[in-house]
């Protein structure tokens, strides 16, 4: 049965019992829906309102601008499109690398041995650290002077020190490294739990057929994991599109605005500069639409490839 679509049976005759059953079911999901309505959907509506004006927090609806804010950020001024490009670059770098590494790690640590448990715990530990703390640590590691660990390492190999966070080519890569470090354990854990649910007989059968471990991985493990991989792909993509805290703390937008992401654009326009709340609203709506498109595309495009038991 597909994890993501529902199996709804056709409605039967309206008996008193079925009405009571329906009401009870709705009572179970109502709190969740209410919370979402107030804290996720209402803000979206509010943002649409805000995006049609130019104002600040005291006076959000100062001057009416219609869709001018949208035209501003999409066409007239390059800043938003640059942040969009930066974010897209980040996503394209981060998702494949993190996903494949997590898969490899989870298969590697599959067997229930002490060493694997220990390694698993260690790999997950970075996830526990608050993003601000990680950002402090890693900006120290990537410090441009010889005092930085990264520079110290490459000098051992004879290269010159490099300004990691100050050069637009490498700044985003550094942020990606930090985020991979922080979240590999988390994703590997999810894959691990899925791996444990693959029946042992499948592997035994493969061994009987004397299939090599690599072949087993591609022909058996991957397809059996495909629901989880699919799910992780979607969540990773949408989450990395929303990246904010780590970039802000590590590079503050990087040299110029080469590492500024869309959420940073939204936050800065809402909180740092005056009179730009409408721009933040417009950017938020554009971001939401993009995320919806990505999720829909993922569903349509990849669901066919997903193999269900």
């Amino acid at each position: 049965m597909s994890d993501l679509t529902l199996n709804t049976k056709p409605a039967r005759r309206l008996t008193r019992k079925s009405v009571a059953n329906n009401l009870f079911s709705w009572a179970l999901v109502l709190p969740a829906i209410l919370f979402l309505a107030v804290f996720t959907f209402y803000p979206l509506v509010n943002l649409i309102q805000l995006s049609l004006y130019r104002g600040n927090i005291t006076n959000p609806y100062k001057t009416f601008r219609g869709i001018e804010n949208y035209i501003d950020i999409l066409v007239k001024r390059p800043q938003f499109m640059t942040t969009l490009k930066n974010t897209a670059l980040y996503v394209v770098m981060y998702v494949p690398i993190c996903l494949s590494l997590s898969l490899i790690f989870s298969v590697w640590l599959q067997k229930a041995r002490k060493m694997n448990n220990f390694a698993q715990t260690c790999f997950f530990a970075p996830h526990l650290v608050a993003t601000i703390s990680s950002a402090f640590m890693w900006s120290w590691i990537f410090s441009p002077e010889s005092s930085g660990i990264a520079n110290g390492l490459i000098r051992l190999f004879g290269f010159n020190t490099h300004n990691w966070l100050g050069s637009s080519a490498t700044a985003m890569v550094c942020v990606m490294i930090m985020n991979t470090w922080a979240s590999i354990g988390h994703h590997a854990l999810i894959f691990l739990s899925a791996l444990k649910s693959i029946p042992g007989e499948v592997y035994e059968a493969a061994e009987l057929d004397s299939s090599s471990s690599i072949k087993t991985f591609f022909k058996i493990t991957l397809p059996m994991l495909s629901p989880q991989i699919f799910l992780m792909l979607i969540t990773m993509t949408t989450n990395s599109f929303k990246i904010f805290e780590s970039v802000r703390q590590m590079t503050g937008g990087g040299p110029g605005i080469s590492t500024k992401t869309v959420c940073m654009f939204i936050y800065d326009n809402a909180f740092e500069t005056n009179n730009t709340l409408g721009l933040a609203g417009a950017a938020s709506i554009v971001l939401t639409i993009i995320l919806m498109l990505i999720t829909l595309l993922d569903f349509k495009g990849l669901e066919k490839k997903v193999h269900y038991q």
């Binding site: 100050g166 050069s167 909180f271």
Partner: protein, 428 residues
């Protein structure tokens, strides 16, 4: 039994009447500020505690200080607080942003309070008093923690190279710093950079713009972009970096103060508030700290920026609370308080009369560097007037482009200026 009950009731009545007499709730003043850690926080807390213990007891006021964040966060929170109905009484804002709050109608004109208390505002330097909002007899903000930029250098290193006189003009500074720059002859690695200037567009580079008779921008005009001043400043700065002795500013772990005290940097320009920690840090590392005026293009026409913050009184409070807030503001800006804060942190005393304060004189005798920052007030300009509602957006855009220019050098100065004009076309 009845007698006992009657006695108890009588006692109760007396007690309640007594409690009514005593329970005169003190007026609560909430003070939002930007000074969160270290000496800055300690001195703010001291101000509040001292006030509460002296004038507060007298006039039944209790002040509560709350750290909110940097100037940007503070401004936004103050604006948001209007929506949530829990505005503070007194708030700190940066020089620019206080006019934004005024424009939003959140702050109170202090002129009637000043008149009623017979408070002398001529004590303040004209340059920092007459900012946006304080024209035509109205007073919407008072200068609180102000600073001017200074030139700091490693005097020990300079003396060892025979550079005994501190530079005064920019030309002298170029010669001075290029000699200060130390390179390891064998590896070619830089041991000590000659100079560094961080990308603080309205404060440091802004000072240079003022010296050229221009300014970063005001009232919707960005004259520096068209009259060549910005071009000269950026060209000079990039030339210094090209010549090798000026370090490229980057966002990173160690700041300029730390690097100077560690011997990695020979000189830099920065806020006088850095003095507060530079002096002991250099002492710890056996470096003598040299302090000089911010270098100027023309010694006969000096100018520099005045940065820092003001305090404002917020409208959305009862009259009693506002009056109490005003008492606190007067206390904060008394000469004794200003001297105490200046001594503890390095922020400038903003009045002319503080020179008569004994503590201040003693401190200046011991630390002549602090007096230099104070002297610069005589030719300092604030960036805030005339008021321009989009100034913060403009500044951010310009600062981003300058950052791109200096960090990567992928664009030329002319291209940078062109982009500044384009990026800000909608607000200029």
């Amino acid at each position: 039994m009845k007698k006992l009950v009657a006695l108890m009731m009588a006692l109760l009545m007396v007690a309640s009447m007594a409690s009514f007499a005593v329970a005169d709730e003190p007026t609560k003043v909430i003070f939002w500020h930007s000074r969160g850690s270290g000496a800055n926080y300690e001195v703010t807390k001291e101000a509040v505690d001292t006030f509460n213990a002296t004038i507060g007891v007298e006039k039944n006021i209790v002040v509560e200080e709350v750290y909110i964040g940097g100037y940007g966060t503070l401004q936004t929170k103050t604006q948001m607080a209007k929506q949530s109905g829990e505005q503070p009484t007194v708030a700190v804002t940066s020089g620019v942003r206080n006019a934004i709050l005024m424009d939003d109608g959140l702050t109170v004109d202090l002129a009637p309070y000043i008149a009623a208390s017979n408070w002398d505002t001529s004590r303040f330097f004209d340059g920092i008093f007459y900012t946006a909002g304080n024209e035509d007899g109205a007073v919407y903000s008072l200068p609180y923690i102000r600073s001017t930029p200074l030139f700091f250098y490693n005097k020990t290193l300079a003396d060892s190279k025979g550079l005994t006189e501190a530079p005064r003009t920019i030309a002298e500074m170029e010669a001075f710093c290029s000699k200060l720059h130390t390179v390891d002859a064998a590896t070619g690695e830089v041991l000590t950079y000659g100079f560094e200037m961080t990308n603080d567009i309205c404060y440091l580079q802004g000072s240079m713009l003022y010296q050229l008779g221009s300014s970063l921008g005001g009232g919707g005009e960005a004259s520096c972009l068209t009259d060549g001043a910005m071009k000269k400043v950026l060209s000079d700065w990039t030339r210094w970096m090209d010549e090798g002795w000026c370090r490229v500013p980057t966002a990173e772990a160690l700041g300029t103060s730390e690097r100077l005290s560690q011997g990695m940097l020979g000189a830099f320009v920065g806020s006088c508030s850095s003095l507060g920690n530079l002096v002991p840090a250099c002492k710890d590392n056996n470096i003598e700290l040299g302090v000089a005026y911010f270098p100027v293009y023309d010694a006969a026409a000096p100018a520099c920026s005045i940065g820092g913050g003001c305090i404002v009184l917020l409208k959305d409070n009862t009259d009693a609370v506002k009056q109490a807030g005003w008492e606190f503001m007067m206390y904060l800006l008394s000469d004794e308080r200003i001297a105490a804060e200046a001594i503890a942190t390095g922020y400038l005393p903003s009045t002319k009369t503080v020179v008569d304060n004994a503590d201040m004189q003693a401190y200046w005798a011991e630390n002549p560097g602090f007096k230099l920052a104070y002297d610069q007030l005589a030719w300092g300009t604030t960036e805030e007037s005339p008021f321009w509602v989009d100034l913060t957006e403009y500044k951010t855009n310009v600062q981003n482009i300058v950052g791109e220019l200096v960090t990567e050098r992928k664009i030329t100065v002319d291209e940078a200026i062109q982009r500044m004009l384009e990026d800000n076309a909608h607000i200029l």
